[in-house]
Amino acid sequence: TNTQTVLKEERTIKFYFQDGAPALTVAKLLEDNPSLSPYIHIEYEMEKSPDLLVTRILKEEADIAIVPSNLAATAYNKGLPYKIAGTATWGSFYLTSTEDIRGYGDLKGKEIYSFGKGLTPDLVLRYVLSENGIDPDKDVNINYLNAASEVGPMFLSGKTNLALLAEPLLTTVMMKKSDAKVILDLNEEWSKAADVKNGFPQASIIIKNELIDEDWEFVDKFLDAYEGSRLWAEENLEDLSLLAEEQGIGVLKETIEKGIIWNNLESFHIKDCKGEYEAYYNAIMDFEPEFIGGEHPDEGIYLQR
Amino acid sequence: MDKIREINKSFGKLDVLVNVSIDFPHGKTTCILGPSGCGKTTLLNIISGLWAEDSGNIYGFQGDIAYVFQEDRLIPWKNIEDNLRFVLRGKINKMEMDNIIDKYLKLVSLEEYKRYYPSQLSGGMRQRINILRAFIYPSNLIIMDEPFKSLDINTKQVLIDFCKFLREIYEKTCIIVTHDIDEAILLGHRIVILTDKPTTVKKIIEIEEQDNWIRLRTEIEREFTA
């Protein structure tokens, strides 16, 4: 490794992540901007739309990125040079209702508003329902909307009183509608059904192979620093909300301060949660293989630390 | 008797008609002569109710009016048969309509052009349709604005004869604007000569059967050159 050090030139790498919960995990890191290597300078870029994030990966512009876990697999299967280093956020979908629903039996015959047909929310809902004896095609009637943000107003306006909501939207909705309650935490339900510990990995942090090969030391330091930033975010809600405002993160101050955005912050490193990924990808293979590019990614997708 | 009294009309600062009063006896033909641009068409448009006069009174002119416009005003997207039908529907029943259209078209030798569109006709042919449209339309009053222009002498003769025939049979009142003095003498019971703008009535000549053509002609021409 000595020869490598000699060759190093100063350079800037790009770290892309999406607005919302992922951005909150980065906020502290961005604020401190610690110098992790004398040669590498990190440029932080927050993308507001998922499409833009996707194009950063496709064009291989990102050196580090937080992306939906299925996108990580798709990229890998399409031969793009990225590896999963850890889980940025765990599942945060909740079945919410104003009605009194206890247990899966009560769901029969109900109409559920959901979003992202053929995508993770759909997968998780269907998986959990069918593992608990509800046929998602026959026993319930699922209506889809395109984006998580469309579901909120539906629920608030009372057009539906049974809806799948995601954080941080859920907190916002609960603040505006006092009689709403969470009837199922799908991450928890998924853990039970799939027999894993942490639920499903919603967003993963991926790193470009080139960077890993070039400067392992930096990557290692970076992952530690990022983990620190995540943990800080959980413990310093007030400060976080100030940071978020400063950085233009699109989550309401009040929502952050209520602080129920997080699931399983402790589990981050890929080595601790390969099982969760395997379960997630397996479920997708049964559901719609196209969603991760047609095949189950091999071991090579995981970063060996 | 239809009549207009003290009609005034101006366009902006341009005074066109000033205190024009004319009588139009029933069943008679009044010819209007006057310099180009003096307001003859304007007068006809006022009489037919299309344009509003600025002041003055109009008496009579009840019932349907047929109008041979100075331009042909045919509907470009309808063939000539349908152009004629356009003004007849609701006034004549269907079967009669076909008959009469054929008969009239034959009269002006256009029976073969029934299905032609206006753009496919010559200027004179379009003008003949313009005239036919007025003749075919059941009315008490026919207004004609230079009807016989663009026509060769034979066609003109046919139409003039037909015009006379119609007005005798149906006792139609006619108002004809023309620049042709012979035509005016031939067709008119009365000839109204207008001045140039601001336009007033210069002279009204009643034509009697026994009047001498040459004398009348010279009299009218004198009015123009004066």
Binding site: V54, L58, L71, T74, K78, G116, K117, G118, L119, N143, Y144, L145, N146, E150, P153, M154, S157, K159, E290, F291, G293 | N45, S48, G49, L50, D64, I65, A66, Y67, F69, E71, R73, I75, W77, K78, D82, F86, V87, R89, G90, Y117, R133, Y137
Partner: protein, 250 residues
Amino acid sequence: MKGYTSKGKWHVTISIALTICIYMILSWVVGDEIILPTVRSIIENIVDIGKGPSFLRILGSSLYRSLWGFTISFLLAIVLAIISGVYGPIYYLISPTIKFLNSVPIIAIILLALIWLNSEMVPMFVGFVMVFPILFETVLKSIVNIDSNLMEMARVYKVKNFYIIKDIYMPSIYMGLMNILPSSIGLNLKMVISGEVLSQPKYAIGSNLQLQKMYLNTSGVFAWIVIILILGKVLEYLMRGLMRWIKLEK
């Protein structure tokens, strides 16, 4: 444009071929299935999609929404524009709403649209909001621009309003609309499909398109685009047929 017809066919064929050639070269140069997929994989995807069990149902549903939506915009535009064109004050009463529809981005009221309407109706609504103001203005302007000489002629001859509308207004409107009909039908289909992306009805081109996009299957996206192009062509033929049927075509 007449007289080109036989030469025209040639030109069309050649230029489509040319466009495809250029695309093939481009996709070969780029060499990335995700950015510009090869023609081969697009065709494979079309075949796959075509073989799918509910393919016809998907097409039919989108086509149905598009046709209905357009018919409604079309009829409403004609009726309202005639009323506004003939009776001025009505124009001023309708115009703020038209202006509103004309200026407000659909993205902004999609929230409300989703709440007000069911997911089948939203795509039609999206198409309506885009297409209606265009049709309305075109019809209105055709009416206002009608040759006043002809109108005077009709008035002198006391032609009944019914016939004035049928024989003067309608053809004028027709000629005005001709200028804009093909592109507004295309626009409508486009917007209905966008609406489907937002409201995700069960059977819909938009829903499927969005899915392919989320799966990063660019060939699939292109396959759907090709299908939409063909559908657009079919719509155009239907339209032509309809127009010939109305027998207003010279």
